[in-house]
């Protein structure tokens, strides 16, 4: 049996894990990353691709702001821009109550440095002639955008590897324990890793790793349902959302429109997810209401993935309360793509320094009542 020794072992090759590996290598730590399938093959790779700060819970904004700065330097950080575009994020109101919510959020978010531009019905019509009758206003965050999720985690993994990280794909961790000499991990393929520090960035499976160290958290698997259309002439510049979150939609310069809403079905244990046709059809209806021209467009693909969701829709980013040397970052509740680059920076700081300057208190693992180990 081969035993690898490292300063830090990482479980999970999603965007958070790959970014952590890269940031740790930038500071010289020896890193082994173990990914069960391929880097970015779950939620990090099949998500919608929105890079937005607007609409985030206010306590998430410091982390989102830090991540946005990293997105702006993506080509420099990983060698490719991952098709990141600052297209703006436009959140639409479909009722007066929606508009009031946008106005309240804009006021609060300003305190956190987020610049939002509110628009009423006429302004929306003038600027976005594609908008349907039911759109009565909106809020634009010009600084937000979108990127190609299929490219991002693998790009971080490649760069981390180029800097010397040992990234193992198809390496399913079957056993993990902490002994007197640190953490020992064993994979299904017979690889053994020993390291004084362990990072749990296992996404929808993060709670399983946490539970092995006596930390039980109510993480659930969710499967956002996604569709993409055939390419049509480019007309939809901003990444779109709606108050209530039941539709999100963006168009890439090639012309395809990607939109999501509703849920697919998944079996996290079997790592299998299937899109739900009824969810797709419901989102067709909502998309056509927001942009009526879409009634002339065809869908060419429908998909979903497996994402970890917390009851308060905030991730866990924290140092373990039970086990020194263990750091958790999982349960991103649909926010992990935009946050991912900064999560890696923060986790690397927690791993090496035991603290970070970014406000992560709201993401503490202690906020959930801990059931006694079974």
């Amino acid at each position: 049996m081969t035993t690898l020794k490292a300063d830090v072992a990482i479980i999970g090759g999603g965007l958070a894990g790959c970014s952590t590996a890269l940031h740790l290598r930038q500071r010289g730590a020896a890193v082994v990353l173990l990914e069960r399938a391929l880097c970015g093959s779950q939620a990090s790779g099949v998500n919608y691709g929105g890079v937005r700060q607007q609409g985030r819970t206010l306590v998430e904004l410091p982390l989102a702001r830090r991540s946005r700065a990293l997105w702006g330097r993506m080509a420099e950080i990983v060698g490719t821009d991952c098709e990141f575009m600052v297209s703006g994020h436009l959140k639409l109101a479909r009722s007066e109550a929606d508009m009031a919510e946008l106005e309240a959020y804009a006021t609060q978010a300003a305190d956190w440095g987020l610049d939002l531009q509110l628009m009423g019905r006429n302004a929306i019509r003038d600027r976005y002639p594609w908008a349907g009758e039911m759109v009565i206003g909106g809020s634009l965050c010009a600084d937000d955008g979108q990127a190609n999720p299929r490219l991002v985690a693998p790009a971080f993994a490649r760069r981390a590897r180029a800097l010397g990280a040992d990234i193992r794909e198809h390496a399913h961790v079957t056993h993990v324990e902490k002994g007197s000499d640190g953490f020992r991990l064993t994979t299904a393929g017979g690889l053994e890793v020993s390291a004084p520090v362990l990072i749990n960035v296992a996404g929808a499976w993060g709670h399983e790793i946490a539970a092995r160290f006596g930390e039980n958290v109510p993480e659930e698997a969710i499967s956002p349902n996604m569709c993409v259309t055939e390419p049509v002439p480019y007309f939809l510049e901003p990444n779109l959302g709606v108050v209530g979150g039941d539709l999100y939609m963006r168009q890439i310069p090639r012309g395809n429109i990607i939109f999501g809403g509703g849920r697919g079905v998944s079996d996290a244990a079997a790592q299998r997810a299937r899109p739900e046709p009824d969810s797709a059809l419901t989102s067709f209806q909502r998309a056509i209401e927001v942009a009526p021209a879409l009634r002339h467009v065809q869908i060419i693909r429908n998909w979903t993935g497996i994402e970890g969701n917390m009851p308060d829709e905030l991730p866990i980013i924290d140092i373990s309360r039970t086990t020194p040397g263990l750091v958790h970052a999982f349960g991103f509740s649909g926010h992990g793509f935009q946050l991912g680059p900064a999560v890696g920076a923060v986790v690397a700081e927690l791993a090496l320094d035991g603290r970070t300057a970014t406000a992560i208190e709201p993401f503490g693992i202690g906020r959930f009542a801990q059931a006694p180990p079974a």
Binding site: R150, R158, Q285, H296, Q298, I300
Partner: protein
């Protein structure tokens, strides 16, 4: 599980015989088909009002076509027939349908997929120019609407269909300029003993070849296409003969195909496992000696379960229906299935002969030039796919698709998939089966978003 009426998808030779067998057992199957009339691709019927005789449309196969159409028409009041209907997705207990521009659902417990086959395509320079068609497409244009794809047509590729369609075009009055086969002549000679498993079919093949030659059509074996010429449309084809000499043939249309591939999207979405088939050089859904898949209630018949041809499809259609009846009980159909399987052995030997006589030219696919468009839906070149492997680390086709967009467009890789797998395997230096299988995704064909709207809107 409550036994819903069995569902048959497809009304070609396999679907028709499956329906007939279920009706004979006293069931009233739901029969779904994308086309407006039964017959499948091979026995596709003319639109209403067209009056060509069957012998004119189907040639030597006219008797079979007539018999199959009559068999289907005779079932009319004993089946729930739904033409013009696409099954766009499937769940374990429900199919999702598109008909008349509207979506609806169909609960089911047992289904037979008789989804047929399509041409295998290999890209080469300028194959995306208007005027280049698949062989199957060229044949459909002729059979269905009595149209030719051009006035001066070159037939390029390999397989028995190449000679058949060329013959049909010439008979219909189109000018067949050349029939260019990538398979070497020697291989055809060597395959002759196996082809004699079905002497009638072998004789027909010889007849087409002789007939074309006797009318002065250039027929060449062992050729390699160099590229299509033309700016806005096909103006000619450059190709190399088996001695390496380059030729230029004037033409305004090219029909191309390199054998057939099974249409397996529904089996894939129903989560039937696939295995690599070395003889047919494609991934095929798993099925037992009755046509049962490992997924309960899902049965396969016809070329959609592996290419065996139209006559075998009639047999496997009946067989899948018998498997379904056996599983729903009562009754034992083992004897008839054994007889069908004995008959299918002959078809399998013949198929092995065809694969030897007309091998898929994987070397041609693998040598696709970097700047040639591979995925025409997304406009991705062969070089971009190779770069996904060499620079981005894609180790199999689904990863390569994610990185390069090959196979991500309207056709979902149905057209470029086989060539893409060959190119990727060569780039990775692995056997073709290790390049993996492109996973299917719903919808099976593009789905109009307006399908959810009320007709009044």
């Amino acid at each position: 599980m409550a036994a819903e009426p069995p569902v048959i998808v497809g009304t070609g030779p396999a679907g028709t015989r499956a329906a007939e067998t279920l009706v004979r057992a006293g069931l009233r199957p739901i029969v779904i088909d994308e086309a407006p009339a039964s017959g499948g691709q091979i026995y596709r019927r003319q639109p209403p009002g067209f009056t060509r005789a069957d012998t004119e449309v189907y040639g030597f196969e006219a008797d079979k076509a007539t018999r199959l159409h009559r068999a289907f028409d005779g079932l009319a009041d004993r089946i729930d027939y739904r033409p013009n209907t696409l099954v766009w997705s499937i769940r374990p207990d429900r199919m999702h349908l598109l008909r008349g521009g509207r979506v609806n659902e169909l609960a089911f417990s047992h289904a037979i997929f008789a989804t047929g086959a399509m041409d295998r395509v290999i890209p080469f320079p300028s194959w995306t120019l208007p005027g280049v068609f698949t062989l199957g497409g060229a044949q459909v244009a002729l059979k269905y609407q009595g149209c030719a794809i051009g006035r001066r047509v070159v037939f390029l590729g390999t397989g028995p269909l190449l000679y058949l369609v060329a013959y049909q075009y010439a008979r219909a009055g189109a000018r067949v300029v050349a029939v260019l086969d990538t398979a070497p002549f020697a291989g055809k000679l060597a395959a002759l003993p196996a082809l004699l498993a079905r002497p009638g079919m072998a004789a027909k093949g010889m007849f087409y070849l002789g007939w074309l030659r006797s009318r002065g059509v250039t027929v060449a074996s062992g050729i390699r296409p160099v590229g299509v010429e033309g700016t806005d449309a096909v103006a000619g084809l450059v190709w190399r003969d088996d001695a390496g000499r380059e030729h230029r043939t004037d033409c305004d249309a090219i029909a191309l195909g390199f054998g057939l591939k099974a249409e397996t999207q529904l089996a894939d979405l129903a989560e039937v496992p696939f295995t690599w088939d070395n003889l047919q050089r494609q991934w095929l859904p798993e099925r037992d000696g009755w046509g049962r898949t490992p997924v309960g209630g899902i049965y396969l018949a016809g070329d959609g379960a592996g290419i065996l041809g139209a006559d075998a499809a009639e047999l496997t259609g009946e067989r899948a229906a018998l498997a379904l009846l056996q599983d729903r009980g009562p009754g034992d159909h083992g004897q008839r299935v054994a007889a069908i399987n004995a008959e299918l052995d002959r078809h399998r030997r013949f198929r092995a002969g065809l694969e030897a006589a007309f091998p898929f030219p994987d070397d041609l696919a693998r040598s696709t030039a970097d700047d040639t468009i591979l995925c025409r839906c997304e406009g991705v070149s062969a070089g971009e796919l190779r770069r996904a492997a060499s620079e981005l680390g894609a180790g199999e086709v689904n990863r390569a698709k994610a990185f390069s967009r090959v196979g991500m467009g309207r056709c979902q890789g149905r057209v470029c998939g086989p060539a893409a797998a060959e190119i990727l395997a060569a780039a990775l230096g692995v056997p073709i089966e290790q390049a993996g299988r492109l996973r299917g995704q719903a919808p099976v064909k593009p789905l109009p978003m307006a399908a959810v709207l009320d007709t009044t809107q």
